[in-house]
Every structure is written in C-alpha cells, then in structure tokens.
Assembly symmetry: C2
Homo-oligomer: 450 residues x 2
C-alpha cells in the first residue's frame, strides 16, 4: 500500500493516471510491432439510449479538453510504471514524451445525441489516441448521465428554478462534475461550494435540521438565523410541526421572509397548506422550496402546487435510474500496412469494426452527422454517414472542431453550453418533453457508404 | 466562470471545499447566536438498506480519516468565500483557523451494517462537526454502495477472482474510490492505474478490440502481443470468429498461453466451447476470462461454466442498481443552554431528534452497537442502544475508536479491511449469501433508553 501523505483523498499527478492498464500494454505491443504510429480514428458513440429515454445530453466536453491537454506522464508516475513493470522501458520512454498532438471533433457541450451519433472523433496515431480512451469515457459517461437527468427535471420544472444538492450522495469529486453537468442540463444553482469555486456556478444554502435541533427552541433557532442571515433567508419548517414553524417563522422574520423549505411529508398537501398559511399571515412574497427525494416525476406531479423552487439530490447525481451512459470509444479507421510509419494526412484509411457476436451496431469508417429540420425548424432526424457529406446537409452538421494539433479550439463558458442545451432541446419534436418511456424522438438514419 | 488553469479536471486546494454551503451559513448563524461551540454528537446511520439487500458494507472509512485530517480552509478558498460573501468576516476568520479537534468512533472499514447501525459517531463542538457532514457522507455513501455490490459479486464468484474494470463508466476519480471499495468488498485486482498508484491495488490489463483492429490480421495482432507481453498474456478472442481466434491464439502463443478473454455473446455457451477447444489444442492450463456486462446474477449463472476469472465494470461501479446509500449525518445530542461556552467532556448532553412527518426512524442520543453471537459463533442481531452498554454485550461492540482529538488512531491497510469484510460476512447467517431479495439478515434491536 502506498502511504504517501496526501492533501486530497486521492492524490494523482495528472489525468494520465485515470487510465486502464491495457491502454499502455497495447502501446507497448504496438510500439514493438511497428504499428503504434499508424494514423487512426477513434469514435465515441453509444449503441442505445438508456431504456425509454428519448434523447441523450452531451456533457463533460469542456472537462475532456482539460483532461486531454493535461494528459502527461509525470516522473512519479513513470517511476511507478517502471518499478511495477506495468510496461517495458521503451514504452516508459515513449510515455515520458507523451503529449496529444492530434485533432478532436465532436458534439458541442449541451447538444443532444441519439444511438449512433458520433459524439466525439479523435484522430492521431494509434498510440496517442488509444491512451485517452479511459479518461474520455469516464468524463462523458458520467457527466452526460447527470445532464440527461437534469434536462428531464428541467422540462418537468418549467420556469421554476432547480437547485442541485446531491453532493452527499455521490463521490466528493463526482459531485463537482455532477453540479456542472446539472447546470448544463438546466439547473440554476448548486449547494456544492467546490462547484462554485471551480466553475462559478451560483451556490445556495442556509440551514439544516441540525441547526434547529442545536437550539433550545425552534424560535431561538429561527431568530439566530434571521439575525445572522437576514429576513431574506430560507427557514426550514419541518423539524417539528410545520404549521407552528411557519407561524413562528413569520413572527420572527416578518412578512418579508424570503422562503420556507419543506423537506418531508406529502409535499403537494403541505405546500398548499403552507402557501395558504403564509398568505393569511401576509407573507405573500415568501417563497416555498421543496427538497424531499425529488425526481422528474415528483417534480411534474407538483406542477400545480404552489412551489417556487425544487432542490434535487440523490436522483439527480445518480442519473435518475441511469447513473452512467453506455458510450464506447472504438477504433473505426486506421492506416494500412504501407502507412505504418505515420505518414498521416491524406493517406486513405481502412475502415475497421468488430464483427460482433450479438449483432451490435458497429460501423467502420469516420462518421459525419447532420440534423435536418422541417419547415417549422423542428429537427427531423439524426443522419449519420461515412464518405462525403451531402451538400444539402452541409450546414446542418452537428459536430464542431474541439481540438487541433493537441490544442483546444472550442473553449466556451458553461453558460454557453447551458444555453445551447435549452435551444437544442426546444428544437426537438414535442415528444422530447414527455417523461414517459418511449423511442428516441429522432430516428438515426445511416447514409453514404455506411 | 473561473478560468484558472488547472492541472486536474477539478482543482481544489483541500477537502474543505467538498462542502454544502449551508454547513457554513449554519456556522455563521450559530457563531453569532453563541451556540456554535456547544458540545455535540453527530451520527451517521441509515434508516434502511437498498430494497431487498440483506446487509450493507461500510467502505471509505480510511478515506474519511484522510479527508477530515486535511479539512482546511486554504487562503484561496477563504478569499473566494469572502469575495462571494458566502459567509461574513467573523465566519471566514473562524474557518481560517479550522482544524477538527474532536473524536470519531465508527464501524471499521469492511464491517457490515444494518438499518439503525451507528456507522460513525462524530463528537466535538457543533461548528467543528457540522462542517464535516457533506464530505463524510459523500465518501461513505459512494464507497459503501460499491463495496456492497462487490461483496455480492464476491459471494457469487466463490473462489474465482474478480477484476474491477469500471473506470470508464464512472467519474474518473470516483473510479479510483470504486476500485478501492471493490477491493474491500472482495475483488482481487483493478484495471485502473490510479487505484494501483494510490492504493497499491494489483493492476491488470492486456488489450482491447482496437489492438486487433489496428493490425492487418488477427494473427498479426496476436503475434505482436505475444512477442511483447509474452505467452502468459491474455488474448482477446471475440473480435471476429471466436473458434478461429482460439486456434490462432494457441498457434501463436503455444499451449502455454496464459488466458483468453471473451467479451460478448452467450458467455455460458461460448465458455464451454472455448474450454473444450483449448483442451483439445493441449492448452489445458490456459484460463478463460469473461467480461461482458456482468453483475452478481450473471456471475452466479456462470458458476458451473469453465470460467476462471470475471471482469466487472458498469454494474460494479454503479452499485448494481443502487449507486448510493442513504446514509445521513444527524445531530443526536448536544449541550443545553448552560453549556453554550463549550465546557465539553462530562457535561450531560440533551438527546435531540427531528419529529418526522413520515414516521421515519429518528432516535436521539448517542448510540452504541453490539452484535451478539449464537453458540456456533454466528451473529444473531444488531443491538443498538443508548445509555450504558449491558455488561454481557461489552465485548461484542462493533464501533471502534477512529480518531481522537483530530488525529486518526485506527489507520490500517486496505488488506486488513478486505480480510475483515470476508471474516464478518462469513459470520453472518447463511442467508447473507442469497442474492435474491429479502429482509436484512440481522434484525436491529433497540434497547436501553432508546
């Protein structure tokens, strides 16, 4: 066991460590065989959406760009690989100089995707591309799962704001990425300070039941909170009796009380009762926040209730039943024998694909994707092809340039991704807003030589 | 948005950032009210196991000790809290000097738990304890979910080794913690280099379909791999035709070939066929590794198949249907009015509990837990109580001292936790090894003043 002192629960020198061992042993064998530098194309795609889901949401793209740019084998890591004999000396030497110098295209963050969509295309030598597999998939599979859940919750919530508060239900760093993905999917804020610090996402939070229980009475607790945080704060009213708590809350804070939070019970019934009580007390502007085990269905069922904001935890950060996506990273084309030396651009590549036992969708060759629209501007299909892009689809292509020669060329703010997602979702057929199980709202059509 | 350059996808100065905002606003209000320093007891427990599960597995304890010892508000973080006015100056000053100085007791890592088990007990002032809530729950809820899934898979696998290979299906750092938790639960190795580097878990891995597709023929690929990695390597035989691949594999590597890996198809049928073929080819010592969408049920169904090792990804790192636990961190006792100044030890604390709307289990007061055994040494019940421990249960207590005055006192190797889990699981009633849904194998009995 490694007993090195660490400032973080997991101390790693770079993103290159977030890698499955077989990526490196493949590099070793390919270096020796002289095939490591064959120009290659890898593609991220999924064969299916989670059961019953109508669209997927790409999230994590910005984190992938960070991860690829910072993918370096630091001395401590190289020493470890050498000592443990994970790979041979020649491979360690190659890894020491590693720096991704290839190109990446892909669906911009916030875009929707469907079965077969070429979500990301990574081009370079076999060796420089294959080692990125694990970290790229980790990021996209996790973040996209959370963003998809967030998007459904945002549809269900309509104009009411959604607060991400799931940090305690997932790994402490997954939580930060989850808050980020939730924001892309349509959430407004997060409870997670790390997500605020790192990504500038608005943070919120006032108090828990522990604060009420700490004090000798609920009135003492509310008074302490209002004196410190102001009457615009949110008071948690379900530690003891809700009706009594609401009365005390308005007495203590005045009718200008910012909000009350309800974290248990039958939210529909309690919200109506609390709204009536607040109005009777003159606190007509006091908002009601609900936060008890919500998911998109519970949110939808509260549409007619006098609720002003939803806080969502567990079900959001666990992808509302689908905590990961099934995105894969597959070699779809590579140079043949005569291009083993890495001639690069211009060389015709050989399309390749696993011949699957289960009849899985595996189409060789580099893909393009376009999304034609009907006369009303609504998306009609996800068209995926190999070979030249038909001229009529040229301006409907979905992938964009993300990285050129190892440098990110498409950095953007998280707000840009969030805005894109809303815009793209609104251009989908109306059935995209149905929470019930169904087929993908756009059919995937293969064309060209695929 | 924060545009600071970062060497990692998420750059954070300390574990103190993995915190929900309300922990800090509660500290602010309590500091002002003079209640922040009341001696307090917080308890981690769960009201229920995931539906149908028969026991829970505590994992992450070692990571909690790291996180608490490293919980510091660094200058960059303090500046950010100040600029964003998350809390007031007095609170920022208090946070600047923060260092947990209290005590933690809890179930040692690898122990099993049941509804109501006092999994962790954190004692200190209200303020110093409350801020730890989020990060403690993040770690325990995530790691214990993975360990529980791992434990069920280990039961199903019997003596056959299990390989953790789910990094690509979860957040890149959650993956490292998942590999660690899987090891505690009974896995033997991981594909994740970061888990090997950080925790010394044995790492494995040889090649993917991409390696075969890179080459001009399967034979060329196998030859390249064997020349570089030796004949003891594992060859992946399902890129094209399995029978042909197995023949080629043994021709290339000789009958001393280490293993073949099958990643698709009907594993039961294919494993039998491949075993027969290998034996006919004289490769009687060549092992068969299977790795296609396995979970504990699929593993159990392969018990009679000639399989030598299982690789598990998605279903392991997502907790096999239960990606998180429902552990909570609740204030269960605190000093009253006359102890506001933090007199500490010896002062009688007031038991506190939320009066829940839903009839949820909430019992105030600091708990002990003991697990009496029958004449055959099998555990009989999870006895949880408040007040003095009955003498006959004194030597059957489950919690141990984990931290004293802010210093970890129970550091141990991961192997110690892994051994403990196996030992404890084997002391449970036999029904613990049933994968079907059922009640917890031990009833929780409340006693004492609870």
């Amino acid at each position: 066991m490694n007993d090195a002192p660490t400032a973080l629960p997991v101390a790693v020198p770079s993103t290159a460590l977030f890698t499955d061992q077989y990526e490196l042993t493949m590099v070793q064998a390919a270096l020796r065989a002289g095939t490591a530098h064959r120009p290659s194309v890898f593609e991220v795609f999924t064969r299916r959406l989670p059961e019953g889901r109508r669209y997927g949401v790409v999230a994590g793209t910005g984190r992938v760009l960070d991860a690829v740019e910072n993918f370096r084998f630091e001395p401590a890591l190289l020493d470890w690989l050498r000592e443990r004999k994970v790979v041979d000396e020649a491979t360690v030497d190659w890894l020491a100089g590693y720096r991704f110098g290839g190109d990446i295209d892909g669906y911009p963050e916030g875009e929707v995707y469907f079965p077969g969509s070429p979500i990301m295309t990574v081009r370079g030598t076999f060796a420089e591309c294959v080692v990125l597999e694990t970290v790229i998939l980790s990021i996209l599979n996790h973040d996209s799962a959370v963003a998809a859940a967030a998007s459904r919750m945002a549809v269900a919530a309509g104009d009411r704001p959604l607060i991400e508060m799931g940090a305690r239900r997932t790994h402490e760093l997954a939580a930060v990425a989850a808050a980020r993905a939730a924001y892309v999917g349509g959430f407004s804020s997060t409870s997670d300070l790390a997500a605020g610090f790192r990504y500038g996402i608005p943070t919120v939070g006032t108090s828990a039941h522990a604060f009420t229980l700490l004090h000798d009475s609920e009135r003492q607790a509310f008074t302490a909170q209002v004196e410190s945080l102001g009457s615009g704060t949110t008071l948690l009213v379900d530690t003891y009796d809700v009706t009594e708590a609401v009365r005390t809350a308005v007495e203590v804070a005045g009718p200008g009380l910012g909000a009350v939070r309800i974290d248990s019970g039958d939210l529909l019934v309690v919200a109506h009762r609390v709204r009536r009580q607040l109005d009777e007390l003159g606190a007509t502007g006091t908002r009601i926040v609900v936060t008890s085990d919500l998911d998109e269905y519970a949110i939808a069922s509260l549409a007619a209730a006098p609720v002003d904001a939803y806080g969502v935890g567990t079900r959001l950060v666990t992808g509302s039943g689908h905590p990961t996506c099934s995105m894969v990273y597959k070699l779809v084309a590579r140079a043949g024998e005569d291009h083993g030396g890495g001639e690069g651009e211009g060389a015709p590549l050989v399309p390749v694909a696993k011949k699957s036992l289960g009849g899985k969708l595996s189409i060789g060759g580099r893909k393009w994707a376009a999304r034609p629209v009907d006369a009303h501007g609504a998306a009609e299909a996800e068209v995926v092809g190999t070979g030249p892009v038909p001229p009529e689809l040229a301006d409907r292509q979905v992938p964009v340039e993300l990285m050129r020669a190892g440098r990110a060329v498409a950095r953007e703010s998280l707000d840009a991704a969030r805005d894109r997602h809303r815009r793209v979702r609104e251009a989908l057929p109306l059935s995209a807003s149905q929470l019930s199980r169904g087929e993908p709202v756009l059919p995937t059509r293969y064309t060209g030589t695929a």
